[in-house]
């Protein structure tokens, strides 16, 4: 008497051997996510604020006026920790902006000194016709940098005006006279937590390539289902539920190995750490592996021609990866996209992974994300198994 367990064991061994025999799948499951995650992390890595290597905004400064106020302001611009300023003439600045060498050029026009210093006090309202125009020329594709430069310019200008008008009462250290202090505080579950681009890229690429592995596993199942080997499996009285269970267990098992390999590499090379609950991390990863298995079953059940199924799956996986914030952090996406993306399992999985890795969230905090990914997996699983049962009845 052959038990279900023995058939299940034989099928799992078979799927495992098939996985290891396919070098392409092996390459895409283990090497590509590690390479891409490392590349994404490297490209988007930013040094911590306050450090020497913290990025500064490159600007060209064009001075068309002269005087002590203007000179002081230019000096401030050139030494600002937020700017990488270089003084040039207008023509050079225009060429630099047009050729994308600098995103912004600040033009201090003629008459600026006179207009800025003619007032006797800060409370005197200037005449509108006498206000000089400070120009900010910016690269048309980089409006964000222009806004950033505008803010820094306003800060320096106000500082100079305050120094000039309040000089009898104010020392050079004018900020100590302010009745408040501005401090920036990163918010996370853990006080020591800091956003790490490598952690984000390893979470995102692991999840994306788990889905790709699910797709490959599903395509293998599709090939089996459409070939003579399927009938041979059915001839040995292997029930559909056993075949499906074997596929789910193998896909999820290989997925777990994939998570282990990519995160171990990330930890060893880029200090990608799990600052939150380890149990939460394991649960989220298991849910993701189940999601990959359910995705594979869906491909196998609803796919027809392998080539078509592969093309459609790739487009869908890349789309849900991008919208779910697997490539770039979700805050870079428009608000409406983020709201729409809440119907995607990748969004929930990524939120859960981010929470338990760099945000340092405790176990209870990620339970909704865990439940969300499990619910999506269950839904896909139902759709796939329902379809397989329908096909089974139709074909036998």
């Amino acid at each position: 008497m052959i038990s279900h367990g023995r058939i299940l064991y034989a099928l799992i061994i078979k799927d495992w051997l098939l996985f290891w025999s396919d070098r392409r799948t092996f390459f895409f499951s283990f090497l590509v996510p590690v390479i891409l995650a490392s590349a994404f992390g490297l490209v988007f890595e930013r040094p911590a604020p306050g450090t020497a290597s913290y990025p500064r905004l490159p600007v060209s400064v064009v001075v068309e006026d002269s005087g002590p106020f203007t000179e002081a302001m230019v000096r401030e611009l050139l030494v600002s920790p937020h700017l990488q300023a270089q003084q040039v003439d207008r023509a050079t600045a225009m060429v630099a902006v047009r050729r994308h060498r600098v995103p912004v050029a600040i033009i201090i026009p003629e008459g600026f000194e006179h207009a800025a210093t003619q007032r006797k006090s800060l409370w005197e309202r200037p005449k509108s016709e006498s206000r000089p125009q400070l120009e900010l020329l910016y690269d048309a594709s980089r409006r964000g940098e222009a806004e950033w430069a505008s803010g820094i310019l306003a800060e320096i200008l106000l500082k100079q005006l305050c120094s000039q008008q309040l000089s009898p009462w104010m020392s050079a250290d004018w900020q100590s006279w302010l009745p408040f202090q501005v401090v920036t505080v990163p918010v996370a579950y853990h006080s020591q937590s800091r956003f790490n681009t490598y952690t984000h890229s390893f979470c995102g690429m692991t999840l994306q390539y788990l889905l790709f592995w699910g797709m490959e596993s599903g395509l293998l199942f599709l090939r089996e289902r459409r070939g003579a080997v399927w009938w041979r499996l059915r001839a040995v009285a292997a029930p559909l539920k056993t075949l499906v269970a074997a596929k789910v267990l193998t896909t999820a098992g290989v997925g777990c190995l994939q998570v282990l390999v990519t995160f171990t590499f990330g930890w060893l090379v880029f200090r990608v750490t799990i600052d939150g609950s380890l149990v939460g991390f394991v649960l989220i990863c298991l849910a993701m592996c189940l999601l990959a298995a359910a995705t594979g079953l869906l491909v196998a059940a609803w796919g027809n021609v392998e080539g078509h199924a592969r093309n459609i799956s790739i487009v869908v996986i890349l789309s849900v990866s991008m919208l779910g914030g697997l490539w770039l952090p979700a805050f870079l996406l428009p608000e409406w996209v983020r709201e729409v993306a809440m119907v995607l399992p990748t969004t929930w999985a990524m939120q859960g992974l981010s929470a338990v890795t760099w945000q340092g969230a405790p176990f209870r905090t990620v339970l909704p994300e865990f439940a969300g990914v499990c619910a999506f997996s269950f839904l896909l699983f139902l759709l796939a198994v329902g379809r397989l049962h329908y096909l089974e009845k139709r074909s036998v």
Binding site: I2, A10, S21, D22, W231, A235, V236, A237, V396
Partner: protein, 305 residues
């Protein structure tokens, strides 16, 4: 023939429809222990469907199928243990090696441990697959792939073997090798049902040839031996000491009657004739020309037309 009175496989009034198309129409057929039955007929005549029904992968619209008195629906796994089915297309995992495929189908049939190892080894030896055991199936030639396809159906030593077009797409040498393998299976007591287009080839190994057309048996043979429609054939398989020169074979072929079929595959010789006398005459001609036999054996079989 061993235990030939015992009915091993029995199709009883089997009908199968594919939509409105009647693939098999009220077919009843018995296969006895150790018997080789060849199902022949044109494409779409229902041969493969009849085998699929017996293999348990095709739903019956009417009738029943028994193997050793057991129906599939009563105990599917026990039924499956009794049957080895080799589908027409290669039902193998091309990415796995020959041995991995055999072990997989052995495991699926409930073999494990030393028994699995022994059975796989036996099948590898029997089909001459030993040197290719670690070769991926996808890299094998068509002939070797077909041998593995058949071997995978036999790894659990089933008493009933169903072979769907086992010789299709094979060259002469591969085909003859496979027919030798089938003859060996019969010697081991397996009941074999072959579906094929090539009546003449399988006639050499089949005890009965049953023709199908439009889903029906042209001559329903529920008793297995319809004397009026059958003829006796005798066959000799011989292992030669060395390969004889071509002119010797040409000379012998000129001297023997037309109904004698003489084929040489490497050092293996096959003679097939309508009577033992004609066969003896052909054998005498071969010996007279100096063809030396290492061993030989004669087989009698019946062809139903």
């Amino acid at each position: 023939m061993r235990g030939q009175d015992e009915a091993v496989l029995f199709w009883d009034g089997v009908s199968v429809f594919y939509g409105a198309c009647r693939a098999v129409d009220n077919v009843s057929l018995t296969v006895r222990a150790g018997e080789v039955v060849a199902l022949t007929g044109p494409n779409g005549s229902g041969k493969s469907t009849l085998l699929r029904v017996a293999a348990g992968v095709c739903q019956l619209d009417a009738g029943r199928v028994w193997i050793h008195g057991r129906e599939r629906k009563s105990d599917p796994r026990a039924y499956a243990r009794q049957v080895g089915w080799s589908p027409q297309q290669s039902g193998l995992y091309e990415e796995l090696t020959v041995e991995e495929n055999l072990r997989l189908f052995g495991r699926l049939q409930g073999l494990y441990g030393s028994r699995l190892h022994q059975n796989v080894q036996r099948i590898l030896d029997q089909f001459g697959l030993g040197p290719r055991r670690r070769q991926r199936v996808g890299t094998l030639s068509g002939g070797w792939k077909q041998r593995v396809n058949v071997a995978a159906a036999l790894v659990h030593s089933p008493p009933v073997v169903l072979l769907d077009e086992p010789t299709s797409g094979l060259d002469g040498e591969s085909r003859d090798r496979l027919l030798v393998d089938i003859s060996r299976l019969r010697e081991q007591g397996c009941s074999i049902v072959l579906a094929t287009h090539q009546t003449e080839e399988v006639a050499a190994v089949a005890d009965r040839v049953v023709q199908m057309h439009n889903g029906r048996l042209l001559e329903p043979c529920t008793d297995g031996f319809s004397a009026s429609a059958s003829r006796q054939r005798v066959m000799l398989w011989g292992q030669l000491r060395c390969h004889p020169p071509r002119f010797v074979l040409r000379l012998v072929r000129q001297r023997i009657p037309d109904d004698v079929n003489l084929e040489l595959i490497g050092k293996r010789l096959r003679l097939c004739a309508d009577s033992p006398e004609t066969l003896g005459h052909a054998l005498a001609e071969l010996l007279r020309e100096g063809v030396a036999f290492e061993s030989y054996r004669m087989v009698a079989h019946r062809v139903t037309r």
